[in-house]
Symmetry: C2
Subunit: 215 residues, 2 copies
Amino acid sequence: VTVNITPRPRARRGQGQALRGEILAAARDLLERTGAEDAVSIRAVAAEVGVSTPSIYLHFDDKTALIDAVCELVFAELDEAMVAAAADIVDPLESLRQFGLGYVRFAISHPEQYRIVMMSRGSHAAPGWQEEQGAFIHLSDLVARCQAEGVFDNAMPTSRIAVALWAAAHGVAALCISKPALVELVGVELLAGDVITAIGAGVAGLHPGGAPSCG
Amino acid sequence: VTVNITPRPRARRGQGQALRGEILAAARDLLERTGAEDAVSIRAVAAEVGVSTPSIYLHFDDKTALIDAVCELVFAELDEAMVAAAADIVDPLESLRQFGLGYVRFAISHPEQYRIVMMSRGSHAAPGWQEEQGAFIHLSDLVARCQAEGVFDNAMPTSRIAVALWAAAHGVAALCISKPALVELVGVELLAGDVITAIGAGVAGLHPGGAPSCG
DNA sequence: TGTACATCAGTGAACGCGCGTTCACTGATGTAC
DNA sequence: TGTACATCAGTGAACGCGCGTTCACTGATGTAC
């Protein structure tokens, strides 16, 4: 528990937004530092920022709104990490592989953030998977490239392949977080590599022209 | 809230175990009926059974012990469902497929049970994946059969393949539970079929003798 | 067969806790004149 | 330039709630004699 000797200066007239950003970042950091979703209470976040509890309500309607906003933030960071991992790779299947590995890596290094965004019960961070810009669009683009170059079946809906790939990557990420003992029978890197490679090869093999198949 | 007119009869001398079983089943049912892990509180379980709150402590040390026991129960039920789904199928790869589909089906029809066993933070239901009899052993046996018949690479450790398959199935199950909107872009059955088929084919394709590869 | 007593499954009331949220307020910031 | 006043970001204290857990107890069940 930190005691603030000098009270935090009050924001200028139109500057309420600044505190909003601080609250969001504090919630995300609290999540990371304590490693527990339950630790993100209105009170804890307020204490983290160094502000009184009711102040939070000046910037968020209620707790749900705060958590939703945190999820949006984290989801954007996840997307960013994946896009960076896949950037500048010419081979489309390899690019997809790196995208997936970036996904798993983000999840493992931010387990509680990943948990709240992808594994929690709430309707939090239920982005419009189709319309909105973001992780799913970026994944779909990579899949479409694979289709265009004949690695994946062109006749299959892009979204169908994208969701399958997402599910596989999510399986690795979620298992690493929830059941580390099971994953440690094999090792994280090996497992991630196996699953991502196999699902890519398997999807490619689902049609005659696919890379590792007989066609 | 149910009001019991006739109080529940007290157990005979050595029969304390009976209530223990009732408590466990009540906790599992509460999980299923309310569809929320938080609803499983000591108080709620006691009310469900029709017994006073402190009675729970006669049968379980504390809340953690109760939840652990529920997980053990659910995990056994999951195993049972999978084994039943894969029984009496001669083709080993098809047997594995049905095992995986049974897994996903159980998860989807008991989402909160699955959540608490496979997706919650606690060290709950951290079975000895190797030693203990149970789901992982059964999966490993099927994988070993595939290896013996040349469908999967014999040189690969069985557990390595088994964990990869588990991760893929878990990905489908967990995504269906946490992100139904994403899954509904494709449909549950289609997704489950895609991922399980692709991961099987992909793993088989990882070595020259595998089924759908060029061998 | 009858009675005194030990056992122990189950209870009622209470504890302290942290939570989300509300409310009347304070006091610096900016504006009108 | 000086003063009265409106605005509004942030506060301190309190609310009611359900939680896990503890404690001294009750009273039917079974046993010893």
